[in-house]
């Protein structure tokens, strides 16, 4: 047997796109396999939706109907916020997954293989995007189910903008997730430690959620929080989703009238989130390049 011939036949390496696919497949397989991730994916949005609608539903229901119309239920109002919560949870796991890979040596194992460097990160990012889209779909279905149960089977209009709106929701969620995923990667690479990264992430995650339009209309928040909400990316993500759900211009922290209807919410939100994506994504890319580079200085 000629070892050399066999070796050359077997060690061809892959094209960039195959490398992306191989990486993507591994992360999805891990996500499905990991019990706590599956649990988070299915149960935490469910718990969030039930808790919030039961606790705040009666309280907030009236004012929300005053603000957005008589057929708008608190569940419909809240569903976009839960989608954002879920997307942020996946983003947090993106960073911790990277640290786990570094700790377990898998990161180095992949670096020493012929896998293209860019494909390592693009594959992981795509896996995260798919998970976020999948979980957003689950939340949408859950919200519908809750409405169905609550209304005894007559839900009425749920996503006012129809099928286009559903696709829009996925697009907005992905644009929204990029900046927080990049942030999660930055924190992961700076701390290089799962515990401190988690603390940092959750310390950012919750204040951001509560000082935004996520759970209650902005006008319910104390004034200083309304100021915070104006510069809070969560507000823009939630409002863009909510505009698609309710079919209304819901952005109240800044007043844009240059477009028409829901676009007065969606355009400024996408622009702001897009800028944030580019800035944080750029920083994350530089840091990722540094850890995967073989140069010592």
């Amino acid at each position: 047997m000629s070892t050399t011939d066999t070796a050359e036949r077997l060690a061809a390496g892959n094209s960039f796109s195959v490398d992306v696919w191989v990486t993507l497949k591994r992360w999805l397989k891990k996500a499905v396999r990991n019990a706590s991730i599956v649990f988070e994916a299915l149960l935490s949005p469910f718990i969030f939706l039930i808790l919030f609608t039961q606790v705040f539903g009666k309280l907030a229901g009236g004012p929300i109907q005053d603000l957005f119309g008589a057929d708008i239920n608190y569940i419909t109002f809240l569903t976009p916020a839960i989608i954002i919560v879920t997307a942020m949870t996946v983003a947090i796991q993106s960073g911790t997954g990277l640290i786990q890979d570094m700790d377990s040596g898998m990161f180095e194992k992949i670096l020493v293989s012929p896998t293209h460097r860019g494909a390592i990160f693009l594959g992981k990012a795509l896996a995260d995007v798919l998970r976020i889209a999948f979980q957003s779909a689950i939340v949408l279905v859950l919200g519908y189910l809750l409405l169905w149960i609550g209304s005894g089977g007559s839900v009425g209009p749920y996503i006012q903008t129809g099928l286009g709106g559903v696709l829009g929701i996925f697009a907005v969620v992905i644009v929204y997730s990029l900046w927080f995923t990049a942030f999660s990667i930055i924190i992961a690479l700076v701390t290089q430690d799962i515990e401190s990264a988690s603390i940092w992430m959750y310390m950012t995650h919750y204040p951001l959620l509560f000082s935004s339009s996520a759970f209650l209309p902005i006008s319910f928040l104390p004034e200083w929080m309304q100021v915070l909400a104006t510069v809070n990316p969560v507000t823009y993500g939630v409002d863009a989703l909510r505009a698609l759900m309710l079919g209304q211009d819901v952005l109240s922290v800044i007043n844009v009238t240059a477009f028409s209807g829901i676009w007065n919410t969606i355009v400024p939100a996408i622009v702001l989130l897009g800028v944030l994506d580019i800035v944080l994504g750029g920083i994350a890319a530089v840091l990722l390049h540094r850890v995967s580079s073989s140069q010592v200085d």
Partner: protein, 361 residues
Amino acid sequence: MVTESTETPTTCTTAITASNVELTYADGTHAVRGIDLEIPRGECFGFLGPNGAGKTSAIKTFVTLLEPTGGSVTVNGYDVVTDSRAVRSSIGYMAQETSIDTELTARENIQFACEMYGVPRSKRAERIDDLLALVDLVDVADKQPSDFSGGMKKRLDIATALVHEPQLVFLDEPTTGLDPRARNRLWEYFRAINRQGTTLFLTTQYLAEADELCDRLSVIQDGKLVATDSPDALKSQVGGDILELTIEGSTADHRAHAQRVARESGVFADCTIETTDEGIAIASEHARREGTDLLVALRDAGLTVTGFDVRSPTLDDVFLAITGTRDVPVNSQTQSGNIDERSSGNSRAQPEALAQDEVDR
């Protein structure tokens, strides 16, 4: 930067050529200070040295994980800097700390490695089965490795490094932290791989391991190669086995007396006889055969021997013979050359346990 090489490495008969390789970390630590090396195809070659000697830093420059800051390295005919992707395709590498994905099953770990290295789909299933059989993990192939023993995890790790039938395999301290049985088993696999024509390059802290596996080895200290030779040739510099005696009520006088008796007993006249804290130590080719005669001679001289141990030369002894100093910094942190980038030393294996095993062997 990374370009596919059109020239095939078949014409190349050297697995590794290193000339004046240097690696200086950003903090100024000189981990590797000018290594020259030529390793022919098919050889099993080892770097023997204590923690912090620069073994891991050197191996990382060979496997393209770190670019040398000076000199050049060619692996399988490809330059590690300008042709790194070709180098990566042609080598297997097992890191010092076991690197497997515990969320995937054993089979999936090997499958992922197959996909990563581009093993053709048609050959994958057979290759995975062959490797599972090679490392004796067929029975647990579809289990997640979280509950595997350290030895089983290492075996899975080595299997993933072999998926593409590399011509050259790097093993960084492959058995550190394993029990003697698991270690012997791994050695068998390494020998089998080497017999099939694969070049092996390994680093180790243990002379027994280098002795067992390597055709040649380099003793590495402070980032430099201080000696390169076959294990037997290196050990012969120690002068044979080590006989250690504990003398009752050991004072300096007793020890000097014992040293005199040993020297006058004839057979140990030309050997290195050192005094130790508790008695004396003699390095001699005849240590095993003539040791008992020395006991009798010591008793006749009125000295009581309370401890008696004959052992094979250790890394310490080789170091003593080659470098003239016993100050092998096995556990010292004085040199930060051996920086581990993945972890801050959480699951670091302690070398004492294995050093003890060497004595037992």
